[in-house]
Amino acid sequence: MTASPLLALAGVVKIYGSGRAAVRALDGIDLAVEAGEFVAMMGPSGSGKSTCMNILGCLDAPTAGSYRFRGIEVAGLSRDQRALLRRHYLGFVFQGFNLLPRTSALENVELPLVYRDISARIRRARAAETLEMVGLTPWARHAPNELSGGQQQRVAIARAMVSNPAVLLADEPTGNLDSARSLEIMELLATLNRQRGVTIVMVTHEPEMAAFSHRVVRFLDGRICKEEAAA
């Protein structure tokens, strides 16, 4: 049996709105991501990379075309079925961190496990372990507003990793950070990709960050205009 790619988009179209106001955000995307890959998606604003990301992350469903996740067609799944896919296979890192305010770093990391049948004690232990992996054990009790941007993004990465996802989806993870912090975050992601084998798909504007990936996919006007190995 030939292994199908972990993620495979074929002829994916996404249209927002309808009639004259319809916007074709994605206009026939074909993309395959193999397990263990680190892919960067680049392109100007409005080129469709974020929409593509949302579809890959099962947050959104394509208007037309096929999206196979581990060979399983996702395009026709219900909201709850997509939520279950996210729960078990996907981790998200956002530009704006998106941590729960007034909630400790540890509890933020614990969050994805809350929606699984895992006892509170084991949840705690796994969250603490993951927090240690990103080097934030001393900050476990701190709320996000007591942490620096870089630290917050580390907490977010820990949250994405705590459930051992197959894929980590990072939407401009360094967009809100200075360059030194950005490089630290990228190194952390690269390490996770290398050591834990997690597949990473990342949207970024910055070539320096894209350089950490294996492959760069360039978007323009809802299409993929170029795929190249990273420099």
Partner: protein, 401 residues
């Protein structure tokens, strides 16, 4: 998952403590009002029932009524001793029959005088009314037979004439009759109709007839039914016997009335019950208004926490997880309000009932029901905001500022 939702609800409520308290206030007041109303209503019902019960258990009263003539009505003739004897003989299930006659008199002792009601009674009176003599004694058979000038005082009359001094063996004048006090009745307090039951003087029937009344007439026959007998049946039998004795033909209306005190007690209690329910219903409306407050604040909370909802959805929360979270939060908020209202209501009914002199009655089932209803109100009014939260699009929710 429910346990977790409960924990989240508690955290969220504590985080906005003041707002939560204000939100729950509607429910607090609603539940407090329901509980106060119901407790006071129960207290009033009990008071009325006790007052009517104080007339004596299973008491029936037979009074002359109106005689209908050709276009005119006149007072029907009073009863006779023989009527009482006939009832005692012919009606089954009767424990005691007490014929009596009454009239307004002025009672004089030394410089004190007092207008009161004199009752000519026999020894059955004390049994029928379930009314013991607490000082001295009641009438002995010889006094009753001979109509000796002796009397028993009601508690009010006793204190009006004698104050704290002993009344026993003192000579007083009742109307034109000079008589000796042999006993004082136990205090009964106010009747259900508000009159003072203790303002009276009792004389042997024959003594009353001789000096105060006339013609050996009986104006009231009180009958106590035995416990195991239905007062309705006894009432019917008395009616039958009396119609016969007063020679009423088939079509004629009764020229006497039989009052069943138990029935009256039930009627009065029924009225208070209806009133209680009505007030309770009004209070329940305020609970629903409180529910609208909860809905309002939950809608605000959902908007405020859109991003949190987005995050939860992104990490794999199902619609029903989010729904449950906000539903439980609304229910816990309302439930808290309910418990707080319960405490406030108990406190309020305690204060008000002692202020009104009504006995304090705590209605447990109604209290439980009120708190449960409050929680239900939270669930019902929390549903719309919770569903709104659950239906949010994760992408929009994550981008929401």
């Amino acid at each position: 998952m429910t346990g977790n939702a409960l924990r989240l609800a508690l955290v969220a409520i504590r985080r906005n403590a003041l707002r939560s308290a204000l939100t729950a206030l509607g429910i607090v007041i609603g539940v407090a009002a329901v509980i106060t109303m119901v407790n006071l209503g129960r207290g009033a019902t009990r008071q009325v029932t006790e007052q009517i019960g104080s007339l004596g258990s299973n008491l029936l009263m037979l009074q002359p009524g109106q005689r209908q003539g050709f276009g005119v009505s006149s007072a029907a003739p009073p009863f006779e001793l023989a009527d009482a004897a006939a009832i005692a003989r012919d009606v089954g299930g009767v424990a005691a029959v007490a014929p009596s006659v009454a009239g307004r008199v002025v009672v004089v002792y030394g410089n004190e005088n007092w207008t009161t009601t004199a009752h000519g009674v026999d020894d059955a009176y004390f049994r029928v009314r379930d009314w013991p003599v607490v000082v001295g004694r009641s009438f002995n058979p010889a006094e009753l037979r001979a109509g000796k000038p002796v009397c028993v005082l009601g508690a009010t009359l006793k204190s009006e004439l004698f104050g704290r001094l002993s009344a026993l063996n003192e000579r007083i004048r009742v109307g034109s009759l000079s008589c000796v006090v042999v006993g004082v009745l136990e205090q009964k307090g106010q009747s259900a109709m508000g009159s003072d039951q203790d303002d009276l003087v009792l004389l042997p029937l024959r003594a009353f007839w001789r000096r105060l009344g006339s013609n050996r007439q009986v104006s009231l026959i009180q009958v106590s039914a035995r416990d195991e007998v239905s007062t309705t049946k006894v009432s019917r039998d008395i009616e039958r016997v009396m119609r016969e004795r007063r020679h009423l033909s088939r079509g004629e209306e009764n020229d006497f009335r039989v009052l069943d005190m138990k029935e009256i007690a039930e009627t009065v209690a029924g009225t208070t019950r209806v009133l209680t329910r009505l007030l309770g219903a009004v209070a329940a409306v305020s609970m629903v208004v409180g529910g609208i407050g909860i809905m309002n604040i939950m809608l605000v909370a959902v908007t405020e926490r859109t991003r949190e909802i987005g995050i939860r959805l992104a990490v794999g929360a199902l619609e029903r997880d989010v729904l449950l979270q906000f539903l439980v939060e609304a229910a816990v908020l309302a439930g808290f309000g309910g418990v707080l209202g319960l405490m406030l209501g108990v406190l309020a009914s305690l204060l008000v009932s002692s202020g009104l002199g009504v006995p304090f009655v705590f209605d447990g089932p109604v209290a439980a029901l009120a708190v449960a209803f409050a929680t239900l109100v939270g669930l019902v009014f929390g549903y719309v905001p919770a569903r709104r939260a659950a239906r949010l699009d994760p992408i929009d929710a994550l981008r929401y500022d």
